[in-house]
């Protein structure tokens, strides 16, 4: 069973995504900010990470950049799940190491499909 780390500063969003992914048969770890996400990644070594972009202090792309710099975590695929929906946003996210992109609000199928795409 694959382990997925979900990062979002809003509890309601976290719950929704957790429901989606549990239904899809994934094991779930949750984090509500960047620091926590980094710590849990190093500790639990999830198979993929689904993260919000716009969070206070450390954003989703900050997390992504930090993970890419560490060889231990560089290979973990990252899915950005965000309300931002412009071409320039997708381009920038991809440049920063995001593997797949899904726009909020999203369905379970969209999220799972993006996750599967990210994990190859």
């Amino acid at each position: 069973m694959k382990t997925i780390l979900i990062v979002d500063d809003l509890q309601s969003e976290l719950d929704l995504m957790a429901t989606y992914l549990t239904k899809a048969g994934y094991k779930i770890i949750l984090a509500t900010n960047g620091e926590e996400a980094l710590a849990k990644t190093l500790e639990k070594k999830p198979d993929a990470i689904v993260t919000d972009w716009m969070m206070p202090k450390m954003g989703g792309l900050d997390i992504c950049r930090k993970l890419k710099k560490n060889p231990e975590t560089a290979e973990i695929p990252i899915v950005a799940c965000t309300a931002k929906n412009r071409d320039v946003d997708r381009l920038w996210a991809k440049k920063q190491g995001v593997t797949a992109y899904v726009t909020k609000p999203c369905t379970q199928e969209q999220l799972v499909s993006a996750l599967q795409e990210a994990m190859g």
Binding site: D8, W53, M54, L61, D62, R65, R86, V88, W92
Partner: protein, 816 residues
Amino acid sequence: MSPKQEFKNPPSEETSLTKSVADNFKGVGNLRRRLLVSILPAVLLPLAIASAIGYNVTERRAKTEVVEQLEANTLLASKTIDTFIRDSLQLTDLVAANPIVIQAMKASSQKVQEEQLAQQTIDALEKKFAATKLLTIDDSINNYLQQIVKSGQLAEIFFTERNGLNVAFSNPTSDFVQRDEGWWQTSQQEGRDIGEPEFDESANAIVIAFSRAVKDSQTQEFLGVIKAGVPATTSISDLANYLEGQHSRSAQFQIVDPNNSFVFSNIDFTDVEAQERNDTGTNSSQTAKDYNQNRMNTENVEVVGGESILKVAKTMIQVLENAVSMEQAQQSIAQEDSFSEISLRQEIIGSERSIIAVLRYQDKIYSLSTVPNTDLVSIGVIDYDVVASAGQSLLSVFGLTGLILGTAALGLIIFLAQQLSRPLTKLSEKTQEVASGNLDIQADVEGTLETRTLADNFNKLVKQVKESLENQQALANEQRHEKEQLETAIYTLIDEVSDATDGDLTVRANLDSMELSTVADLFNAIIDNLQEIAVEAKQSTSQVGSSLKQNEAAIRTLAEQAIAEAKETRDTLMSVEQMSQSIQAVAENANQAEQIVDDTYQTIVNSTDNMDLTVNSILNLRTTVGETAKKMKRLGESSQKISQAVSFIEEIALRTNILAINATVEAGRAGEYGQGFTIVAEQVAGLSEQCAAATKEIASIVAAIQGETQEVNQAMESGTAQVVETTRLVESTKESLGLVLEKSQEINLLMSSISESTVSQAKTSQNVTNLMQKIANLSETTSKSSKEVAQSIVETAQVAEKLESAVAQFKVAESY
């Protein structure tokens, strides 16, 4: 997660479309006028063009018809002449077929032969027959000929026998002998001759002479020549009558012999026309026949068109005779500048070929046609005005038709334009109102289907524009609101990150704004990177500084060592150079030694040869000594024999002495008588004594010889032994020399190998020297570089210090 931003209307702007459109198009006419202006030419112009083309085509056809008529008539004239010539020739054939004529010819020839008239000169013959001009007068034949002249409308007819002497005639001829005449000779050779037309005063007409040879129908033997003069009047008058019926008015026709510019026939209708115009029916007493006479008059008539047309006629005759080709003829005719519209062609009718030319010259159309089998040319002329006037009458017909049709079209178009433009004009007034800003107006739906559709669509359009304007207003408001939000977000972002410009890398941009969070993230990424770089730079510079301080002394030592090393290397180089020079010297010495050893070897080789010679001489000596010893031995043996002989002689001498004593004794007994005997005995005794003495002497000599021989033998033996010893010594010497040679050879080899080694050693040492030179240079460079390195390390230390102070400006987070 940020809430989605509301789409806000931008501020709306007042549209300036309300300006009156009509003002912009003051110069443009209304629909009715435009319809008239554009449709009228579209209808009237094709009408005019069609009329013009129709008129043009018909006129051209009429003109062509006139020219073709002229050409046909010209050809007809030439055919008429041709027919006339055929008929005339048939007449002579008819006469030639008459047995009476043939009989008369044969009889005359018989007579000529009998009287040998053929051998006589022409003058003699003329004189002889001056009275009658006939060979034999046979009135029956003359009458026959006269009858033919009367009935066949001939001018004259006569014939000669085979020698050209007249046999019979209808009218007396001027000559009796005809064989010197051209026509007679041509007929005899070619079978027939057509003479040139001449005006005959007695016949009061143009007469053409036709001659033909008469031959025996069975043997084909030449019997004589018949000549007939035929006046051309009848056939020409027929032609003239015919042409008059063929609309040939205003035309003139001539049959011309171009070779002598002789006008064979002239048929002129131009005067008739002029005459008729003058008369205008008041005085028409003169009949057409009078004109006929006028126009058929050939006296003092010149060839129409003059020399130029004659030249064309001549060229055509040349074409007919195949002297020039059609192309050449065309070119030569075209050279004449005053000719235009030239056409030249040939027409083959049956077996006969005619050349036909048409051209325009001096405002007249000329048509020329060759007459088959003759050198004659038929010429037809017509004024160009006549041709041009053919189309004039058509002009008025086409003009009138065009005018009526044009007027009808004009009326119809004006009516239609009125009908079409009225609803559109009304609609246009409505649109003007809408354009001025009143969007609450509705256009009346009326008129044709198109104008109704237009009005309906216009109403819909106005409604849509109204809605669209309202939407635009809302959108503009929304956009304005968005812009304000964006500006606020930008201010916040600038406020958040502006401290980074002073080196504070702890700042962070907020990701709250939906629009700017990407930019904010970009700033954060940049600031993070800068922070990392600054930290790394700080660490690096301090490391560089400290390690430089530690290493400075070591590097300085290193530089000094490098300098010392360079000096040592230079010394080594000098030693190596010296060594190299020594090796060079050794090499030279070795070379010399080798030379000397070589010489020695040569000397030894020579000595060995000499030794061999010595050994040979000694061996020879030994042989000689051996032989001498043998001879000495024989000498010893000989002296032995001599001493034996001497002892025998001694015995004899002793016995003789005893005998002498006995004799003296006996003689002494014999007394006086024995006295002499006693003396003899005494002398014999003396002799024997002497002999004994001599023998003793010889014995002593022999003994001496034997003693000496013995000595010589001994000496010989010792000499032989010495020679043997010497030989042995020489052999041993030789062996020793051989050994010396071998050794010297070895030495030689050794020496050369030494020499080679020293040479390679010299080279190697040179290489070593070069190498050392390079090493020396290198170490020089190294020492320089290490000096520079030392220098640059000092500089680097300074730079590191500067860098450290520069990086210290950056403020970074504690965690780094």
